[in-house]
Symmetry: C2
Subunit: 245 residues, 2 copies
Protein backbone atom coordinates (compact mmCIF):
# COMPACT_ATOMS: atom_id res chain seq x y z
CA UNK A 1 0.00 0.00 0.00
CA UNK A 2 1.42 3.35 -1.03
CA UNK A 3 0.68 6.10 1.49
CA UNK A 4 0.27 9.78 0.68
CA UNK A 5 3.77 10.58 1.91
CA UNK A 6 5.17 8.18 -0.72
CA UNK A 7 3.60 10.28 -3.48
CA UNK A 8 6.46 12.44 -4.74
CA UNK A 9 8.22 13.32 -7.98
CA UNK A 10 8.84 10.21 -10.09
CA UNK A 11 11.99 8.28 -9.35
CA UNK A 12 13.33 5.62 -11.69
CA UNK A 13 14.32 3.30 -8.85
CA UNK A 14 10.87 3.38 -7.29
CA UNK A 15 8.51 0.41 -7.71
CA UNK A 16 5.60 2.59 -8.80
CA UNK A 17 4.90 5.34 -11.32
CA UNK A 18 2.10 7.70 -12.36
CA UNK A 19 -0.35 8.33 -15.13
CA UNK A 20 -0.62 12.12 -15.44
CA UNK A 21 -3.85 13.26 -17.08
CA UNK A 22 -7.37 11.90 -17.37
CA UNK A 23 -6.88 10.03 -20.66
CA UNK A 24 -3.94 7.82 -19.66
CA UNK A 25 -5.47 7.34 -16.20
CA UNK A 26 -8.65 5.91 -17.75
CA UNK A 27 -6.55 3.72 -20.07
CA UNK A 28 -4.83 2.37 -16.96
CA UNK A 29 -8.10 1.75 -15.10
CA UNK A 30 -9.74 0.09 -18.08
CA UNK A 31 -6.86 -2.09 -19.23
CA UNK A 32 -4.85 -2.93 -16.14
CA UNK A 33 -6.90 -2.24 -12.97
CA UNK A 34 -5.03 -4.87 -10.94
CA UNK A 35 -1.85 -2.77 -10.80
CA UNK A 36 -3.55 0.47 -9.70
CA UNK A 37 -2.69 1.66 -6.18
CA UNK A 38 -4.67 4.86 -6.06
CA UNK A 39 -6.45 7.43 -8.23
CA UNK A 40 -6.20 11.16 -7.52
CA UNK A 41 -8.68 13.76 -8.79
CA UNK A 42 -8.26 17.52 -8.54
CA UNK A 43 -11.13 19.67 -7.24
CA UNK A 44 -11.09 21.57 -10.55
CA UNK A 45 -11.90 18.39 -12.53
CA UNK A 46 -15.22 18.30 -14.37
CA UNK A 47 -17.99 16.27 -12.76
CA UNK A 48 -18.01 13.75 -15.63
CA UNK A 49 -14.31 12.99 -15.07
CA UNK A 50 -14.95 12.42 -11.38
CA UNK A 51 -18.00 10.26 -12.04
CA UNK A 52 -16.19 8.05 -14.54
CA UNK A 53 -13.20 7.64 -12.20
CA UNK A 54 -15.48 6.88 -9.24
CA UNK A 55 -17.37 4.21 -11.16
CA UNK A 56 -14.19 2.48 -12.36
CA UNK A 57 -12.60 2.68 -8.90
CA UNK A 58 -15.68 1.20 -7.21
CA UNK A 59 -15.85 -1.65 -9.71
CA UNK A 60 -12.22 -2.52 -9.06
CA UNK A 61 -12.00 -1.68 -5.32
CA UNK A 62 -9.44 1.04 -5.90
CA UNK A 63 -8.95 4.02 -3.58
CA UNK A 64 -10.06 7.35 -5.07
CA UNK A 65 -8.86 10.54 -3.40
CA UNK A 66 -9.68 14.17 -4.06
CA UNK A 67 -6.51 15.87 -2.90
CA UNK A 68 -5.15 18.88 -4.76
CA UNK A 69 -1.85 19.11 -2.87
CA UNK A 70 -1.02 15.50 -3.59
CA UNK A 71 -1.72 15.87 -7.30
CA UNK A 72 0.17 19.15 -7.49
CA UNK A 73 3.25 17.42 -6.04
CA UNK A 74 3.60 15.11 -9.01
CA UNK A 75 1.97 16.80 -11.98
CA UNK A 76 4.07 18.65 -14.54
CA UNK A 77 1.31 20.65 -16.20
CA UNK A 78 -1.36 22.75 -14.53
CA UNK A 79 -4.11 21.28 -16.63
CA UNK A 80 -3.47 17.77 -15.27
CA UNK A 81 -6.59 17.14 -13.16
CA UNK A 82 -6.41 13.36 -12.73
CA UNK A 83 -3.59 10.95 -12.01
CA UNK A 84 -3.11 7.31 -11.14
CA UNK A 85 -0.47 5.56 -9.06
CA UNK A 86 0.42 2.14 -10.48
CA UNK A 87 2.87 -0.64 -9.72
CA UNK A 88 5.49 -1.13 -12.38
CA UNK A 89 5.11 -4.48 -14.08
CA UNK A 90 7.21 -6.92 -16.01
CA UNK A 91 6.00 -8.74 -19.07
CA UNK A 92 7.38 -10.81 -21.92
CA UNK A 93 6.94 -10.26 -25.62
CA UNK A 94 5.28 -13.00 -27.66
CA UNK A 95 7.39 -15.25 -29.87
CA UNK A 96 5.04 -15.69 -32.80
CA UNK A 97 3.90 -12.11 -33.14
CA UNK A 98 5.24 -9.06 -34.99
CA UNK A 99 7.66 -6.91 -32.98
CA UNK A 100 8.97 -3.39 -32.98
CA UNK A 101 12.56 -3.26 -31.69
CA UNK A 102 13.96 0.03 -30.40
CA UNK A 103 17.75 0.02 -30.07
CA UNK A 104 18.94 2.54 -27.45
CA UNK A 105 16.00 4.96 -27.62
CA UNK A 106 16.82 8.10 -25.62
CA UNK A 107 13.76 10.33 -25.90
CA UNK A 108 10.69 9.76 -23.71
CA UNK A 109 8.30 11.49 -26.10
CA UNK A 110 9.43 9.39 -29.06
CA UNK A 111 9.11 6.16 -27.10
CA UNK A 112 5.59 7.06 -25.96
CA UNK A 113 4.51 8.09 -29.46
CA UNK A 114 5.88 4.84 -30.92
CA UNK A 115 4.03 2.77 -28.28
CA UNK A 116 0.80 4.52 -29.27
CA UNK A 117 1.48 3.91 -32.97
CA UNK A 118 2.17 0.22 -32.25
CA UNK A 119 -1.18 -0.10 -30.45
CA UNK A 120 -2.89 1.82 -33.25
CA UNK A 121 -1.65 -0.55 -35.94
CA UNK A 122 -1.88 -3.78 -33.96
CA UNK A 123 1.76 -4.46 -33.16
CA UNK A 124 1.46 -5.45 -29.52
CA UNK A 125 5.03 -6.42 -28.72
CA UNK A 126 7.87 -3.98 -28.16
CA UNK A 127 11.49 -5.02 -27.55
CA UNK A 128 13.83 -2.40 -26.10
CA UNK A 129 17.61 -2.72 -26.26
CA UNK A 130 19.53 -1.11 -23.37
CA UNK A 131 20.79 1.48 -22.65
CA UNK A 132 17.36 3.00 -23.13
CA UNK A 133 14.88 5.44 -21.69
CA UNK A 134 12.73 4.17 -18.77
CA UNK A 135 9.39 3.03 -20.21
CA UNK A 136 7.62 3.78 -16.90
CA UNK A 137 8.68 7.42 -16.82
CA UNK A 138 5.48 9.51 -16.62
CA UNK A 139 6.54 11.34 -19.81
CA UNK A 140 6.57 8.06 -21.74
CA UNK A 141 3.23 7.02 -20.22
CA UNK A 142 1.69 10.36 -21.14
CA UNK A 143 3.11 10.44 -24.69
CA UNK A 144 1.74 6.90 -25.17
CA UNK A 145 -1.67 8.23 -24.02
CA UNK A 146 -1.83 5.13 -21.82
CA UNK A 147 -1.26 2.70 -24.73
CA UNK A 148 1.60 1.32 -22.62
CA UNK A 149 -1.09 -0.65 -20.75
CA UNK A 150 -2.23 -2.34 -23.97
CA UNK A 151 1.03 -3.80 -25.26
CA UNK A 152 3.78 -6.13 -24.04
CA UNK A 153 7.28 -4.83 -23.65
CA UNK A 154 10.60 -6.37 -22.70
CA UNK A 155 14.10 -4.96 -22.13
CA UNK A 156 17.21 -6.75 -23.40
CA UNK A 157 20.83 -5.96 -22.45
CA UNK A 158 21.92 -6.25 -26.09
CA UNK A 159 20.49 -6.85 -29.56
CA UNK A 160 22.32 -10.18 -29.60
CA UNK A 161 20.26 -11.37 -26.61
CA UNK A 162 17.05 -10.37 -28.33
CA UNK A 163 18.17 -12.09 -31.53
CA UNK A 164 19.19 -15.22 -29.69
CA UNK A 165 15.80 -15.54 -27.96
CA UNK A 166 13.46 -14.38 -30.73
CA UNK A 167 15.37 -14.34 -34.02
CA UNK A 168 14.39 -17.79 -35.28
CA UNK A 169 11.75 -18.04 -38.03
CA UNK A 170 11.36 -14.30 -38.14
CA UNK A 171 12.00 -11.63 -40.81
CA UNK A 172 14.18 -8.82 -39.51
CA UNK A 173 14.01 -5.35 -41.05
CA UNK A 174 16.54 -2.84 -39.70
CA UNK A 175 15.70 0.73 -40.78
CA UNK A 176 18.85 2.62 -41.80
CA UNK A 177 19.96 5.51 -43.99
CA UNK A 178 22.20 2.93 -45.73
CA UNK A 179 19.30 0.47 -46.05
CA UNK A 180 19.61 -1.77 -49.14
CA UNK A 181 15.95 -1.62 -50.21
CA UNK A 182 13.46 1.21 -50.21
CA UNK A 183 10.35 0.88 -48.04
CA UNK A 184 7.40 0.00 -50.25
CA UNK A 185 9.59 -1.39 -53.07
CA UNK A 186 9.66 -5.03 -51.95
CA UNK A 187 7.05 -7.54 -50.91
CA UNK A 188 6.93 -8.92 -47.41
CA UNK A 189 7.36 -12.53 -46.42
CA UNK A 190 3.94 -13.27 -44.94
CA UNK A 191 4.84 -16.74 -43.70
CA UNK A 192 6.61 -15.61 -40.57
CA UNK A 193 6.36 -12.72 -38.12
CA UNK A 194 8.49 -9.63 -38.64
CA UNK A 195 10.61 -7.34 -36.49
CA UNK A 196 10.95 -3.66 -37.44
CA UNK A 197 14.21 -2.39 -35.93
CA UNK A 198 15.01 1.28 -35.27
CA UNK A 199 18.16 2.90 -33.87
CA UNK A 200 18.88 5.76 -31.51
CA UNK A 201 17.60 9.29 -32.34
CA UNK A 202 21.05 10.77 -32.91
CA UNK A 203 23.13 7.85 -34.15
CA UNK A 204 20.73 5.43 -35.86
CA UNK A 205 21.70 1.77 -36.24
CA UNK A 206 25.39 0.98 -36.72
CA UNK A 207 26.68 -0.78 -39.84
CA UNK A 208 26.56 -4.20 -38.19
CA UNK A 209 22.78 -4.13 -38.77
CA UNK A 210 23.37 -4.18 -42.54
CA UNK A 211 23.96 -7.91 -42.01
CA UNK A 212 20.70 -8.46 -40.09
CA UNK A 213 17.82 -9.58 -42.34
CA UNK A 214 16.70 -7.04 -44.97
CA UNK A 215 17.88 -3.49 -44.29
CA UNK A 216 15.37 -0.83 -45.32
CA UNK A 217 15.62 2.84 -46.28
CA UNK A 218 12.78 5.35 -46.11
CA UNK A 219 13.75 7.48 -49.10
CA UNK A 220 13.48 11.26 -48.72
CA UNK A 221 14.86 14.45 -50.28
CA UNK A 222 18.24 15.94 -49.40
CA UNK A 223 16.44 18.87 -47.76
CA UNK A 224 16.55 17.00 -44.44
CA UNK A 225 19.28 14.78 -43.03
CA UNK A 226 16.90 12.24 -41.53
CA UNK A 227 13.31 11.75 -40.44
CA UNK A 228 12.34 12.10 -36.81
CA UNK A 229 12.46 8.66 -35.12
CA UNK A 230 8.78 8.46 -34.18
CA UNK A 231 7.79 9.55 -37.68
CA UNK A 232 10.09 7.00 -39.35
CA UNK A 233 8.71 4.27 -37.10
CA UNK A 234 5.14 5.41 -37.76
CA UNK A 235 5.60 5.31 -41.54
CA UNK A 236 7.28 1.90 -41.37
CA UNK A 237 4.61 0.42 -39.08
CA UNK A 238 1.88 1.79 -41.36
CA UNK A 239 3.47 0.28 -44.47
CA UNK A 240 4.05 -3.13 -42.87
CA UNK A 241 0.55 -3.44 -41.41
CA UNK A 242 -1.72 -1.71 -43.93
CA UNK A 243 -2.80 -4.97 -45.56
CA UNK A 244 -4.38 -6.01 -42.24
CA UNK A 245 -6.84 -3.11 -42.23
CA UNK B 1 18.54 47.25 -37.84
CA UNK B 2 17.63 45.41 -34.66
CA UNK B 3 19.65 46.58 -31.67
CA UNK B 4 20.60 44.44 -28.67
CA UNK B 5 17.88 46.03 -26.55
CA UNK B 6 15.28 44.79 -29.05
CA UNK B 7 16.36 41.21 -28.39
CA UNK B 8 13.79 39.89 -25.93
CA UNK B 9 11.37 37.00 -25.50
CA UNK B 10 9.49 36.32 -28.76
CA UNK B 11 6.38 38.36 -29.36
CA UNK B 12 3.85 37.44 -32.06
CA UNK B 13 3.30 41.06 -33.06
CA UNK B 14 6.99 41.73 -33.58
CA UNK B 15 8.42 41.88 -37.12
CA UNK B 16 11.27 39.50 -36.31
CA UNK B 17 11.74 36.09 -34.74
CA UNK B 18 14.53 33.70 -33.72
CA UNK B 19 16.12 30.43 -34.68
CA UNK B 20 17.08 28.76 -31.41
CA UNK B 21 19.85 26.18 -31.77
CA UNK B 22 22.74 25.65 -34.16
CA UNK B 23 20.89 23.42 -36.63
CA UNK B 24 17.98 25.74 -37.50
CA UNK B 25 20.34 28.73 -37.41
CA UNK B 26 22.53 27.15 -40.10
CA UNK B 27 19.44 26.26 -42.13
CA UNK B 28 18.47 29.93 -41.96
CA UNK B 29 21.94 31.15 -42.97
CA UNK B 30 22.23 28.67 -45.83
CA UNK B 31 18.73 29.03 -47.28
CA UNK B 32 17.62 32.57 -46.56
CA UNK B 33 20.62 34.76 -45.64
CA UNK B 34 18.93 37.94 -46.91
CA UNK B 35 16.46 38.00 -43.98
CA UNK B 36 19.06 37.49 -41.24
CA UNK B 37 19.56 40.46 -38.90
CA UNK B 38 22.12 39.01 -36.54
CA UNK B 39 23.66 35.75 -35.35
CA UNK B 40 24.45 35.12 -31.69
CA UNK B 41 26.91 32.53 -30.44
CA UNK B 42 27.40 31.50 -26.80
CA UNK B 43 30.91 31.32 -25.34
CA UNK B 44 30.31 27.64 -24.54
CA UNK B 45 29.77 26.79 -28.24
CA UNK B 46 32.29 24.45 -29.84
CA UNK B 47 34.93 26.05 -32.06
CA UNK B 48 33.54 24.32 -35.17
CA UNK B 49 30.11 25.88 -34.59
CA UNK B 50 31.70 29.30 -34.23
CA UNK B 51 33.88 28.81 -37.31
CA UNK B 52 30.97 27.72 -39.50
CA UNK B 53 28.80 30.63 -38.31
CA UNK B 54 31.65 33.10 -38.85
CA UNK B 55 32.27 31.89 -42.39
CA UNK B 56 28.58 32.10 -43.37
CA UNK B 57 28.19 35.51 -41.73
CA UNK B 58 31.26 36.90 -43.51
CA UNK B 59 30.05 35.61 -46.86
CA UNK B 60 26.67 37.28 -46.38
CA UNK B 61 27.78 40.43 -44.50
CA UNK B 62 25.80 39.49 -41.40
CA UNK B 63 26.65 40.65 -37.90
CA UNK B 64 27.96 37.88 -35.61
CA UNK B 65 28.03 38.54 -31.88
CA UNK B 66 29.36 36.47 -29.00
CA UNK B 67 27.13 37.59 -26.17
CA UNK B 68 25.95 35.13 -23.54
CA UNK B 69 23.50 37.47 -21.82
CA UNK B 70 21.73 38.27 -25.06
CA UNK B 71 21.35 34.62 -25.99
CA UNK B 72 20.24 33.68 -22.48
CA UNK B 73 17.44 36.25 -22.72
CA UNK B 74 15.73 34.44 -25.57
CA UNK B 75 16.71 30.79 -25.37
CA UNK B 76 14.41 28.25 -23.77
CA UNK B 77 16.90 25.46 -23.26
CA UNK B 78 20.33 25.68 -21.67
CA UNK B 79 21.95 23.69 -24.43
CA UNK B 80 21.01 26.31 -27.04
CA UNK B 81 24.39 27.81 -27.96
CA UNK B 82 23.55 29.57 -31.20
CA UNK B 83 20.63 31.66 -32.37
CA UNK B 84 19.67 33.85 -35.29
CA UNK B 85 17.46 36.92 -35.50
CA UNK B 86 15.49 37.03 -38.75
CA UNK B 87 12.84 39.23 -40.33
CA UNK B 88 9.49 37.53 -40.75
CA UNK B 89 8.64 37.11 -44.39
CA UNK B 90 5.58 36.65 -46.55
CA UNK B 91 5.40 34.26 -49.44
CA UNK B 92 2.83 32.69 -51.72
CA UNK B 93 2.25 29.05 -52.39
CA UNK B 94 2.60 27.79 -55.97
CA UNK B 95 -0.52 27.03 -58.01
CA UNK B 96 0.69 24.02 -59.96
CA UNK B 97 2.41 22.20 -57.13
CA UNK B 98 1.27 19.74 -54.48
CA UNK B 99 0.08 21.30 -51.22
CA UNK B 100 -0.40 20.33 -47.61
CA UNK B 101 -3.32 22.23 -46.05
CA UNK B 102 -3.54 22.54 -42.26
CA UNK B 103 -6.96 23.65 -41.04
CA UNK B 104 -6.75 25.40 -37.64
CA UNK B 105 -3.55 23.75 -36.37
CA UNK B 106 -3.05 24.63 -32.70
CA UNK B 107 0.19 22.93 -31.67
CA UNK B 108 3.58 24.47 -32.48
CA UNK B 109 5.44 21.18 -32.30
CA UNK B 110 3.06 19.48 -34.72
CA UNK B 111 3.27 22.32 -37.20
CA UNK B 112 7.07 22.30 -37.11
CA UNK B 113 7.24 18.52 -37.50
CA UNK B 114 4.84 18.63 -40.46
CA UNK B 115 6.92 21.36 -42.14
CA UNK B 116 9.98 19.17 -41.81
CA UNK B 117 8.12 16.16 -43.20
CA UNK B 118 6.91 18.27 -46.15
CA UNK B 119 10.49 19.31 -46.95
CA UNK B 120 11.65 15.72 -46.51
CA UNK B 121 9.18 14.38 -49.06
CA UNK B 122 9.32 17.26 -51.52
CA UNK B 123 6.01 19.02 -50.80
CA UNK B 124 7.19 22.62 -50.76
CA UNK B 125 3.89 24.47 -50.35
CA UNK B 126 1.95 24.70 -47.11
CA UNK B 127 -1.47 26.40 -46.80
CA UNK B 128 -2.63 27.29 -43.28
CA UNK B 129 -6.27 28.06 -42.50
CA UNK B 130 -6.84 30.51 -39.63
CA UNK B 131 -7.25 30.52 -36.70
CA UNK B 132 -3.89 28.82 -36.48
CA UNK B 133 -0.63 28.74 -34.57
CA UNK B 134 1.96 31.38 -35.56
CA UNK B 135 4.43 29.76 -38.02
CA UNK B 136 7.21 32.13 -36.92
CA UNK B 137 7.02 31.15 -33.26
CA UNK B 138 10.50 29.91 -32.27
CA UNK B 139 8.95 26.58 -31.18
CA UNK B 140 7.64 25.99 -34.71
CA UNK B 141 10.97 27.03 -36.23
CA UNK B 142 12.84 24.68 -33.91
CA UNK B 143 10.47 21.72 -34.42
CA UNK B 144 10.85 22.24 -38.18
CA UNK B 145 14.63 22.10 -37.69
CA UNK B 146 14.80 25.16 -39.92
CA UNK B 147 12.89 23.51 -42.79
CA UNK B 148 10.57 26.52 -42.59
CA UNK B 149 13.21 28.36 -44.66
CA UNK B 150 12.97 25.79 -47.46
CA UNK B 151 9.23 25.83 -48.17
CA UNK B 152 6.52 28.34 -49.13
CA UNK B 153 3.66 28.97 -46.78
CA UNK B 154 0.54 31.10 -46.92
CA UNK B 155 -2.23 31.87 -44.43
CA UNK B 156 -5.90 32.01 -45.47
CA UNK B 157 -8.80 33.38 -43.39
CA UNK B 158 -10.98 30.40 -44.38
CA UNK B 159 -10.82 27.14 -46.32
CA UNK B 160 -13.24 28.67 -48.84
CA UNK B 161 -10.68 31.37 -49.69
CA UNK B 162 -7.99 28.77 -50.22
CA UNK B 163 -10.36 26.70 -52.35
CA UNK B 164 -11.42 29.71 -54.39
CA UNK B 165 -7.81 30.65 -55.19
CA UNK B 166 -6.23 27.25 -55.65
CA UNK B 167 -8.99 24.64 -55.99
CA UNK B 168 -9.20 24.50 -59.76
CA UNK B 169 -7.60 21.54 -61.56
CA UNK B 170 -6.49 20.03 -58.30
CA UNK B 171 -7.31 16.79 -56.44
CA UNK B 172 -8.35 17.44 -52.85
CA UNK B 173 -7.92 14.76 -50.18
CA UNK B 174 -9.33 15.64 -46.74
CA UNK B 175 -8.13 13.20 -44.05
CA UNK B 176 -10.97 12.28 -41.68
CA UNK B 177 -12.03 9.50 -39.33
CA UNK B 178 -15.17 9.30 -41.49
CA UNK B 179 -13.11 9.27 -44.71
CA UNK B 180 -14.79 7.33 -47.53
CA UNK B 181 -11.69 5.51 -48.79
CA UNK B 182 -8.77 3.96 -46.97
CA UNK B 183 -5.31 5.41 -47.58
CA UNK B 184 -3.41 3.08 -49.90
CA UNK B 185 -6.58 1.47 -51.30
CA UNK B 186 -7.08 3.79 -54.28
CA UNK B 187 -4.89 5.08 -57.07
CA UNK B 188 -4.01 8.73 -57.36
CA UNK B 189 -4.88 11.01 -60.24
CA UNK B 190 -1.41 11.88 -61.53
CA UNK B 191 -2.63 14.45 -64.06
CA UNK B 192 -3.08 17.27 -61.61
CA UNK B 193 -1.50 18.42 -58.35
CA UNK B 194 -2.98 17.29 -55.04
CA UNK B 195 -3.82 18.88 -51.70
CA UNK B 196 -3.65 16.81 -48.52
CA UNK B 197 -5.95 18.43 -45.96
CA UNK B 198 -5.72 17.89 -42.19
CA UNK B 199 -7.87 19.24 -39.35
CA UNK B 200 -7.23 20.55 -35.88
CA UNK B 201 -5.52 18.26 -33.29
CA UNK B 202 -8.60 17.96 -31.07
CA UNK B 203 -11.53 18.29 -33.45
CA UNK B 204 -10.32 17.08 -36.87
CA UNK B 205 -12.11 18.25 -40.00
CA UNK B 206 -15.87 18.87 -39.76
CA UNK B 207 -18.37 16.93 -41.86
CA UNK B 208 -18.50 19.62 -44.55
CA UNK B 209 -15.15 18.27 -45.77
CA UNK B 210 -16.84 14.97 -46.72
CA UNK B 211 -18.00 16.90 -49.80
CA UNK B 212 -14.52 18.16 -50.72
CA UNK B 213 -12.75 15.90 -53.24
CA UNK B 214 -11.97 12.37 -52.02
CA UNK B 215 -12.10 11.98 -48.24
CA UNK B 216 -9.51 9.56 -46.85
CA UNK B 217 -9.26 7.44 -43.71
CA UNK B 218 -6.03 6.10 -42.23
CA UNK B 219 -7.38 2.83 -40.85
CA UNK B 220 -6.21 1.77 -37.39
CA UNK B 221 -7.28 -0.48 -34.50
CA UNK B 222 -9.83 0.50 -31.88
CA UNK B 223 -7.04 0.59 -29.29
CA UNK B 224 -6.55 4.30 -30.02
CA UNK B 225 -9.14 6.95 -30.82
CA UNK B 226 -7.02 8.70 -33.43
CA UNK B 227 -3.46 9.09 -34.64
CA UNK B 228 -1.39 12.07 -33.58
CA UNK B 229 -1.72 14.85 -36.21
CA UNK B 230 1.94 15.01 -37.21
CA UNK B 231 2.02 11.22 -37.52
CA UNK B 232 -1.16 11.08 -39.63
CA UNK B 233 0.23 13.82 -41.88
CA UNK B 234 3.60 12.04 -42.10
CA UNK B 235 2.00 8.74 -43.13
CA UNK B 236 -0.23 10.45 -45.70
CA UNK B 237 2.62 12.49 -47.19
CA UNK B 238 4.78 9.36 -47.40
CA UNK B 239 2.04 7.39 -49.18
CA UNK B 240 1.26 10.19 -51.66
CA UNK B 241 4.88 10.88 -52.59
CA UNK B 242 6.60 7.51 -52.41
CA UNK B 243 6.43 6.95 -56.18
CA UNK B 244 8.68 10.00 -56.65
CA UNK B 245 11.59 8.44 -54.76
Amino acid sequence: MISNKDIKKYNKSSSYSYTLGAFPTFELLENYPEIVEKIMIHTTAKQEIYDKAEKLCEQNHIQLVVNDKLLEKIREKENCIAAGVFDKFQCQIEKNQNHVVLVNPSDSGNMGTIIRTCAGFGINNLAIIEPAVDIFHPKVVRASMGSLFRINHQYFPSFEEYYHKYGENRSMYPFMLKGAKKLGSFSLNRNQPFSLIFGNEATGLDDSFLGVGQSVLIAHTKAIDSLNLSLAAGIAIYEFTKHYF
